[in-house]
């Protein structure tokens, strides 16, 4: 009998019911349809069309209203079920949560940096309109601005408003407990207004503060006010002595990231003794300032760029003596200027992190599958009773969502733990690194990660489950399984390859770091203490007074108990103060040689000219290779002498003897005789190139800022004594730093150490995830073949044969992954070449060690499921099928 055709109204009602959860429809669907049919027929018959319409609208509204409630109740049930399953399978739960937590953690952590550095606007009012101006000549490096130039830009610009200047200097501040060396930011009046910074207390600078002869005033940074002044609420109005003038505190800044440099205090240009000198103001070539501006409304950075370039051309035309050919100027957005270097690295890291998350997802999907083999029966039944793939997907997705949210929680904790390392790493690339934190955006990102993870791993599992369930029903072996296996195999091989590339990167970094630590610094840093100081320069204008200070200080220090030798110098090797300046390559001195008419540019540029007292070389353990060191007889008035380092001797005179030649560092005004050649030292950090160096005698050029002490035993204990000695010689001296040279050496590799740690962390993470992937894939493989293994064992296969077969299965994929990884690593490690020190990116030893390490770890990961396979009881295996 043909089935009677269903009326449209009933069909419509059936369709409407589909917005209710599957379970509800399964339970009540057909009953509801029947009830509705009766209700519809009777209402139409007894009450007419209008009543029927009313009934329809009530029914539709009712179902729409109840659908969310019913779905929520299913979700609650699913979550409860998922939690029960998690508790029942602690091994699976721990594995999956760990893998996802690592994946989400690393993404959240990298995103926190990307967010703070690249995405968030600058922490200033309309920060995106701020631009920084730059001048360049034909040589690399930027040229700073002079007062004359700043005035020209202010006068001629059409695109920028409020051009402000900034430079930073160190001064000694008196008025506290002891003299304090402070970093002073010297800024023009509108500086804080341009950045939109409002003072926490008092006021910032107004144009009157900037007028020549104005009473000197100071604005303190929040950090200085808190740390040095103890957050004194009555600080405004307090008077400090600086550069022999009273300076009145007029305000305190709020806690803001300070750009372009961090300063303790700020002063207006009129208070800086160098910037305010009339001859410096008049000198177009006296360049020491940076220049910032704000785009006028409606003006683009490009407009500003051409505007600034135009002004530069005008200046060059009007003052040809001050500008060489190739002089140009440009403007760039402060925001992009601050992050140019960090952008590619952070984006590359985020890409790699995304990939880590993807393989974490795939592995969790695999783990879920291995576990689901046990639930196959349940899924088969559910499909048989009509659960659509959508419904199964929902159940699986809920389970993965619960897992992912737990993992995201742990991931955020991991990210919080790694923030310091990440900020350290990023600070090598951008000053915005200090803004890195876990904020609402980062938390939202973690949740997005968790959701993405859920969708990927949940649906992968559901997709497989559909194939597997079908298999279970038909008991057939269609091609779908082969393709599934292929996908899983490719997945494993690709994550082995990926972690191999990362491990090679990390391995190279570690080797490079070891090489760095093995570098001969050219001096003996053990037991040497360096204390740096800054005198009140106004009191020490004459060379005699400065030499007298050094003499008295040395006399005191030499006679301290436990001191085996001591020296004073203008600086010392690996002095952090020096390294920062000198690494910029701007710091070069050319010299003339008597009787040599070659231009300066053809002679090697000297990177460091150090003033040192006679015992400097003995104290630091720098060998005198030929000639002699400084003697007490090299005093003021005696013929000036100079020492050079070995590299300079070789570069400038090749095989000829440099001794007794006369050279000048001041364009020929004074000549010094080379009396000795000393060993090379790594002055500015552990870098491959040795800087060319010269030394002048302290008595002849008294410019000292450090005292160096070699201790008989423990140098650190001497720090207090040396500090006291300096203050005894002159209590108006600020002690700026006290460190041992071993510490200085450690600090000089802080940056590569951070980079190495970052890479290693990443690599270990990828390795862990890949190993978990191999293990879970094999576990699934073993589970799916329990019956086959059972039969093999029943037919006489030994456990070790089974063991070998499973391990072979896994290691075959690892082998493919390693080969692909090798090719990838050779191709990609060029990327990290700039981070490497005396290590070839294709270093054989690193490749061999990493290959062995990865293979060994993979072998262990394979061994665990293989052993389980070998322990299968053939009878139980056959029975369970």
């Amino acid at each position: 009998m043909p089935k009677p055709r269903q009326p449209f109204a009933d069909w419509l009602y059936g369709a409407l019911l589909r917005i209710l959860p599957f379970e509800f429809r399964l339970e009540f669907g057909s009953d509801m349809e029947e009830t509705f049919r009766l209700q519809r027929v009777e209402t139409g018959r007894d009450y007419g069309f209008r009543a029927l319409l009313r009934m329809w609208s009530a029914t539709i509204a009712d179902i729409i209203r109840m659908a969310p409630r019913e779905h929520a109740s299913v979700l609650r049930a699913d979550v409860t079920y998922a939690l029960r399953m998690m508790r029942k399978n602690p091994g699976y739960t721990a594995g999956a949560v760990m893998i996802l937590a690592l994946g989400i953690g690393v993404n959240t952590s990298i995103f926190s940096a990307v967010n703070a550095v690249l995405l968030q606007p600058l922490p200033y009012v309309e920060g995106d309109d701020l631009v920084v101006l730059r001048q360049r000549g034909s040589a690399p490096g930027n040229i700073l601005f002079s007062v004359q130039e700043i005035n020209d830009y202010r006068r001629l610009t059409r695109s920028l408003s409020g051009l402000v200047e900034h430079h930073s200097m160190a001064f000694t501040l008196f008025g506290g407990k002891e003299p304090h060396r402070v970093r002073a930011g010297v800024v023009s009046a509108g500086f804080f207004d341009l950045f939109g910074v409002k003072p926490l207390m008092g006021r910032t600078f107004v144009p009157d503060d900037d007028r020549p002869g104005a009473a000197p005033v100071l604005v303190l940074s929040y950090e200085y006010w808190k740390q040095v002044e103890g957050g004194d609420p009555k600080i405004v109005g307090k008077v400090f002595q600086m550069n022999d003038k009273p300076h009145v505190v007029i305000g305190v800044l709020p806690l803001i990231p300070q750009y372009p440099s961090e300063n303790d205090v700020y002063m207006p240009t009129s208070a800086c003794p160098f910037r305010s000198k009339p001859e410096n103001i008049a000198d177009r070539d006296f360049r020491m300032m940076s220049l910032f501006g704000r785009l006028k409304p409606g003006v683009s950075t490009n407009d500003a760029r051409s505007d600034v370039a135009r002004i530069a051309q005008m200046m060059a035309g009007a003052h040809p003596k001050s500008y060489a050919a190739g002089f140009q100027a440009t403007a760039s957005a402060l925001r992009s200027d601050l992050t140019t270097r960090a952008r590619p690295m952070l984006l590359a890291l985020l890409g790699a992190a995304g990939f880590v998350l993807l393989i974490a997802c795939a592995n969790v999907a695999n783990l879920t599958l291995a576990r689901m083999a046990r639930r196959e029966q349940e899924l088969v039944v559910r499909r048989a009773v009509g659960a659509g793939s959508g419904r199964l997907l929902r159940q699986l997705v809920t389970e993965s969502m619960v897992l992912a949210l737990v993992a995201a929680g742990i991931g955020v904790v991991l990210a919080m733990g790694s923030i310091r390392l990440l900020a350290q790493f990023t600070s090598q690339l951008t000053p915005r690194a200090r803004e890195i934190s876990i904020d609402g955006w980062v938390l939202a990102f973690a949740i997005v990660c968790a959701t993405a993870t859920t969708i990927v791993s949940g649906s992968v599992a559901a997709l497989y489950s559909r194939t597997d369930v079908k298999l279970g029903w038909n008991d057939g072996r269609p091609g779908a399984e082969r393709s599934g296996r292929f996908v899983r195999g490719a997945l494993i091989a690709s994550q082995v390859a990926f972690s191999y590339v990362l491990l090679i990167g990390a391995g190279l970094m570690v080797r490079s770091f070891l090489q760095l630590n093995r570098v001969d610094v050219g001096f003996v840093p053990e037991r040497v203490l360096a204390v740096s100081f800054q005198r009140n320069w106004l009191k020490y204008q004459s060379p005699e007074s400065r030499h007298a200070f050094a003499d008295q200080l040395l006399e005191k220090v030499r006679h301290m108990p436990g001191v085996s030798s001591a020296a004073v110098a203008s600086s010392y090797p690996l002095d952090p103060e020096n390294s920062a300046i000198a690494q910029s390559m701007d710091h070069q001195t050319h010299f003339l040689e008597e009787g040599d008419t070659r231009p300066e540019s053809e002679r090697p540029a000297v990177r460091a000219v150090r003033v040192a007292s006679p015992d400097y070389f003995r104290t630091l353990g720098i060998p005198v290779i030929s000639g002699r060191g400084f003697l007490d007889s090299d005093r003021a008035g005696a013929p000036p002498v100079v020492l050079i380092n070995q590299s300079l001797a070789h570069e400038a005179w090749r095989d000829a003897d440099p001794l007794d030649r006369h050279i000048s560092f001041d364009g020929g005004r004074s000549w010094s005789r080379i009396v000795g050649v000393v060993g090379d030292t790594r002055e500015f950090g552990l870098v491959p190139e040795v800087p060319f160096q010269a030394y002048l005698a302290e008595a002849q050029f008294p410019q000292t800022a450090s005292v160096l002490v070699r201790a008989a035993r423990d140098s650190e204990r001497l720090a207090g004594l040396v500090r006291r000695a300096i203050l005894e010689v002159d209590p108006e001296t600020a002690i700026t730093q006290a460190e041992t040279l071993e510490q200085a050496r450690m600090d000089s590799v802080a940056s590569p150490r951070t980079t190495t740690r970052m890479f290693s962390l990443f690599a270990v993470l990828a390795l862990l995830i890949a190993l978990a992937g191999i293990g879970s894939m094999l576990a699934l493989w073993v589970r799916q073949r329990t019956r086959e293994i059972g039969i093999r064992m029943a037919m006489g296969a030994r456990p070790r044969h089974i063991l070998a077969r499973v391990i072979r299965q896994g290691m075959w994929l690892v082998g493919i992954g390693l080969s692909a990884g090798y090719a990838g690593a050779v191709g990609l490690t060029g990327f990290i070449q700039t981070f490497l020190f005396q290590v070839d990116p294709t270093d054989g030893a690193t490749y061999a060690i990493v290959s062995a390490l990865l293979s060994g770890a993979a072998l262990v990961a394979c061994f665990v499921p293989a052993r389980r396979a070998a322990r299968i009881d053939p009878q139980a295996a056959l029975r369970c099928e």
Partner: protein
């Protein structure tokens, strides 16, 4: 049994009342509720089966396999039966409502009504 936190809604009580004098299928419940309340309470199918689901889950009603002997009965229809605990809950609710009406009367809120 439902706890104190989940009191019966008027609609639930009406459904239970409809089942108090015999097992019924969904449409019969719907119809009886409408008739008993003189059309004041008109349940839609969605609300009805939402209530049935809840009453089933709380054990206040059960589905019965044995259908009452009714002419033209469709064998696919499902019949519901008020359980003993359901009956007790419905009774408790009725008594509660009665006490409330009593109170309203003692406050002379419903003077117009004749005493019972």
């Amino acid at each position: 049994m439902p706890d104190a936190q989940s009191p019966l809604t008027p609609a639930m009580f009406n459904v239970m009342l409809a089942l108090a004098d015999g097992d019924k299928h969904g449409y019969a419940v719907l119809k009886e509720v409408a008739e008993q309340t003189a059309g004041e309470v008109q349940l839609s199918t969605g609300t009805l089966y939402g209530i049935i689901k809840r009453l089933l889950a709380e054990g206040l009603i059960v589905e019965v396999r044995r259908h009452p002997a009714i002419e033209n009965d469709d064998q696919r229809r499902r019949y519901y039966h008020l359980t003993d605990s359901g009956r007790a809950v419905a009774l408790a609710e009725a008594e509660r409502l009665e006490r409330q009406v009593e109170r309203a009367r003692s406050k002379q809120l419903i003077r117009a009504l004749k005493p019972v």
